[in-house]
């Protein structure tokens, strides 16, 4: 018991320290400058977050897919906020081995990871390649129609 308890501080110190956690507090992003078809990349907790203003075509493509046929089944509706379907907010880190996928590339009008060739669709879902899961959606909410808070 005592031994394990003594060990704990030596392991726990490796986790993010207080300043790193504090720097990981929520951030607000203004969406007004992002035109349709464009996207911006913001950093939150050292991770790139893609905020994409999707076109009608991209939304339709994302919704036309048979969800059950996907490697990581998830509907587009579950990945965006109702009433703000044009906004896709995903963590831009490939779920394979952590590279940053390039937006607007690949065969699915979404993201393409240059490291090992994973391809994501316009909803950030994995469609092809070695990655096991969809691009994760970070916790976020709309503060107003043109502003989101990530975190």
């Amino acid at each position: 018991m005592g031994g394990v308890a003594t060990l704990w501080p030596f392991i726990s110190q490796m986790n993010p320290d207080a300043s790193t956690i504090a720097a990981g507090a929520p951030i607000e992003v203004d969406l007004t400058p992002v035109a349709e078809g464009q996207d911006i990349k913001v950093f939150w907790r050292g991770k790139p977050i893609y905020v994409s203003h999707r076109t009608k075509k991209q939304i339709e493509e994302a919704r036309a897919v048979n969800v059950a046929s996907l490697p990581d089944p998830q509907s587009d509706e579950a990945r965006v906020k109702a009433g703000h379907e044009q906004w896709l907010v995903v963590i831009g880190i490939c779920t394979h081995l952590g590279c940053i996928p390039i937006a607007h590339e690949g065969n699915y009008d979404g993201f393409f990871c240059p490291c090992h060739g994973s391809q994501y669709d316009s909803s950030g879902r994995i469609r092809q390649g070695p990655a096991p899961a969809n691009l994760p959606v970070p916790p976020y909410q709309f503060v107003s129609d043109t502003k989101i808070q990530i975190g």
Partner: protein
């Protein structure tokens, strides 16, 4: 075998110590009187070579740590300052960086030797497993060491490798956060990697002691795999093995020095001369060459968790080798079938290494899968099966008997395997050629290439002028100080000329006594001022693409040489991919965009730029910069001069490196020759 020694020192002081701590007896019985089989070949010198390399790595590493700063914002710069400003810093850094590769090269030879001669078999199982543990520790150390220069490959290699642990279900993410000490690879990660990179070599040294201990209990294996029976089968370690090892080490030093002095960047990646940038992934992440076979195994499996498990299994399987191969005959020399399969396995490993460096697409993926199956089949199917069905040739009765008979023929499988490998190479080569859209930069003649290369002083001075009048409008040169212009091996200016050159610049200094920043004329100690205050400003002023700093550009740019060129390059010492690319790029602008190529608004077409769309407009035109020495004022001449200048900026001590290299080679060749003849003399009675 190393029982209590009857060695007694004659010196009374040593006698006094020996009675209290019998260390001289231990040394004597382990390294002098220790009987070593008399039929050992040169593959057995790699044990000594590895001990030597571990010593070199620890020594150079401890010294480098005295100058290095493990902080994310400073790490890259501190490594550059070691190379540029510390006395012989370039030598120590090259020794350490190349040393890692040489260490792995030697360990692979050592491992394959153990595999071939059955050195893992009873009674040497623990010895072998300790070796596998050392290898694992080496891999961890090498990986963390590669992160420390904090270039792009360091950063993204660290990201990819640490993310391997996220494949484990449930706990994966927490493990990765624990490794990072943050939410992504960052400063805490760099700090702890530095700490561990310093620690692990000493752990390795500790396990090496156990390894040698186990070796001295079981005794050395030998090419015939029969245990020594009589005195006639062995020779004393000193002088026989010592002199042979010394000769082996001095030959190895020749190879090592070839890299240190003539091609220090051959085994590295150009991308690692670009400072780490968490926002941009390099297009093609490649680990160091010594991890490539395992990386290929990782990538060839489409499922993430399975890929990670396969990669680790590929190493762990080695520890079970003593039980997978239960054949009674130790040495593959007497196992005709095992010999064939051994060489096929060697080729499989080399090909996996080649595939690990290729992009994961098309034929490479399929070939990777086939070879991964071959790799595991060797351990899990071939070796267990062979030990049951194979009829080995009779082994000699004793070592001394086999020393007399010495004929050799090349195994047919070597030829078959080499042909197969060649065919596969050719196949992938054609595929690679089809995939290429970009023209390769033409190879140019550079005054600084080759073992005796020197910078053309005129070109350096003209190049500086071109940089100052053209490039400096957008590009920084932040690692070069004005004092460097007057240093040996540089453009050849005097100290006074460098001072005068510096004073033409306005440098920001301060704060003064009023607490305000002010401008003053530059001094020799100042660095070239950058045209933009920060990267964002540079980006904003240049249509979204920040002009890169040029201090390291000729080392940070390269192009794929492809097979078989990268093999020829080792012998020709071709190291000028970077300068060839930079010079070609400066001349590669074309006003007319060719058919079928579209480039975005605000970009320019360049034949040699990857992707062809470059944000920089054509920077040079004929007659733009005046030359005082009558050299032609053409774009071609400008490009050549400024590239020469930038090559010097990337490596100001290149001339010193090549000069010292020549002296070292002369010495080493003489030394190796002396060792060889001494060895012949010592062994004259043993053969």
């Amino acid at each position: 075998m190393s029982g209590p020694s009857d060695y007694q020192p004659s010196n009374p002081a040593l006698k006094w110590i020996e009675r209290r701590l019998p260390i001289f007896g231990l040394m004597h019985s382990s390294f002098v009187a220790y009987p070593t089989p008399r039929n050992l070949n040169y593959w057995w010198t790699f044990g000594a070579i590895l001990s030597f390399m571990l010593g070199i790595q620890i020594l150079t590493g401890v010294i480098l740590a005295m100058h290095y700063t493990p902080y994310a914002d400073l790490a890259f710069k501190s490594v550059e300052l070691i190379v540029r400003d510390v006395n012989y810093g370039w030598l120590l850094r090259n020794m350490h960086a190349v040393g890692a590769s040489m260490f792995f090269f030697a360990v692979y030879v050592h491992m394959f030797r153990g595999l071939y001669y059955g050195s893992y078999k009873e009674p040497r199982e623990v010895l072998w497993i300790l070796g596998v543990i050392i290898y694992l520790l080496m891999m961890a150390t090498g990986f963390m060491g590669y992160v420390l220069p904090w270039g792009q490959m360091s950063f993204w290699g660290a990201t990819v490798i640490t993310n391997l642990f996220s494949a484990f279900p449930y706990v994966g993410e927490s493990i990765v956060t624990l490794l990072w000490g943050g939410y992504s690879v960052g400063n805490p990660t760099l700090n702890r990697f530095f700490s561990l990179h310093y620690l692990l070599p000493f752990l390795i040294a500790g396990v090496v002691v156990l390894h040698v201990w186990a070796l001295h209990v079981a005794g050395q294996n030998n090419p015939d795999g029969v245990e020594p029976k009589t005195e006639k089968d062995t020779v004393p370690f000193t002088p026989h093995a010592t002199i042979k090892d010394l000769f082996g080490v001095s030959c190895f030093l020749l190879l090592y020095s070839w890299f240190i002095f003539y091609m220090p960047n051959y085994l590295g990646d150009a991308d690692n001369y670009i400072p780490a940038n968490p926002g941009v992934t390099p297009p093609h992440i490649v680990p160091e060459w010594y991890y490539l076979p395992f990386y290929a195994i990782l990538r060839s499996i489409p499922n993430k968790l399975a890929g990670v498990i396969a990669m680790f299994s590929a190493i762990i399987v080695l520890a079970f080798l003593p039980w997978l191969d239960s054949a009674k005959t130790r040495s593959t020399k007497y196992r005709p079938l095992a010999k064939q399969f051994f060489w096929i396995f060697v080729v499989v490993c080399i090909l996996l290494g080649y595939l690990g460096a290729q992009p994961p697409e098309g034929i490479y993926v399929i070939a990777g899968r086939v070879l991964t199956v071959c790799y595991f089949a060797y351990f899990l199917i071939v070796l267990p099966l062979l030990s049951r069905i194979e009829t080995p040739r009779p082994v000699p009765n004793s070592i001394s008997e086999s020393v007399l008979a010495n004929g050799r023929k090349v195994a047919a499988s070597v030829v078959v395997a080499l042909v197969a490998a060649g065919a596969l190479f050719a196949g992938t080569l054609q595929d690679a050629r089809a995939a290429e859209g970009t023209d390769k930069p033409p190879a140019q003649k550079w005054s600084f290439s080759g073992p005796f290369g020197k910078f053309d002083r005129g070109a350096l001075q003209r190049g500086l002028k071109v940089y100052k009048e053209v490039c400096a409008n957008c590009h920084g040169l932040s690692y070069i100080a004005f004092r460097n212009l007057a240093e040996a091996g540089g453009p050849g200016y005097s100290v006074a000329q460098a001072s005068a050159f510096a004073s033409e610049y306005k440098v920001k200094d301060g704060p003064n006594d009023q607490g305000e920043m002010f401008e003053r004329p530059g001094r020799p100690a100042d660095y070239f001022p950058s045209p933009f205050p920060n990267e964002q400003a540079a980006r904003a002023a240049n249509g979204g693409a920040a002009p890169p700093d040029l201090s390291l550009i000729t080392k940070a740019r390269s192009y794929e040489r492809g097979f078989p060129w990268f093999i020829f390059d080792f012998f020709t010492q071709y190291q000028e991919q970077g300068p060839d690319y930079v010079a070609a790029m400066l001349q590669g602008f074309e006003d007319k965009v060719p058919e079928g190529v579209t480039i975005p608004e605000g970009s320019y077409f360049n034949k040699y730029f990857p992707g062809h769309a470059i944000k920089m407009p054509k920077p040079l035109s004929d007659g733009q910069v005046t030359y005082d020495d009558g050299s032609p004022t053409t774009v071609a001449q400008y490009a050549k001069d400024v590239t020469t200048f930038l090559m010097w900026a990337a490596e100001p001590h290149m001339e010193a490196r090549k000069q010292l290299g020549f002296q070292v080679f002369v010495f080493l060749i003489i030394f190796a020759g002396l060792m060889y003849f001494t060895k012949k003399k010592v062994w004259a009675d043993a053969h």
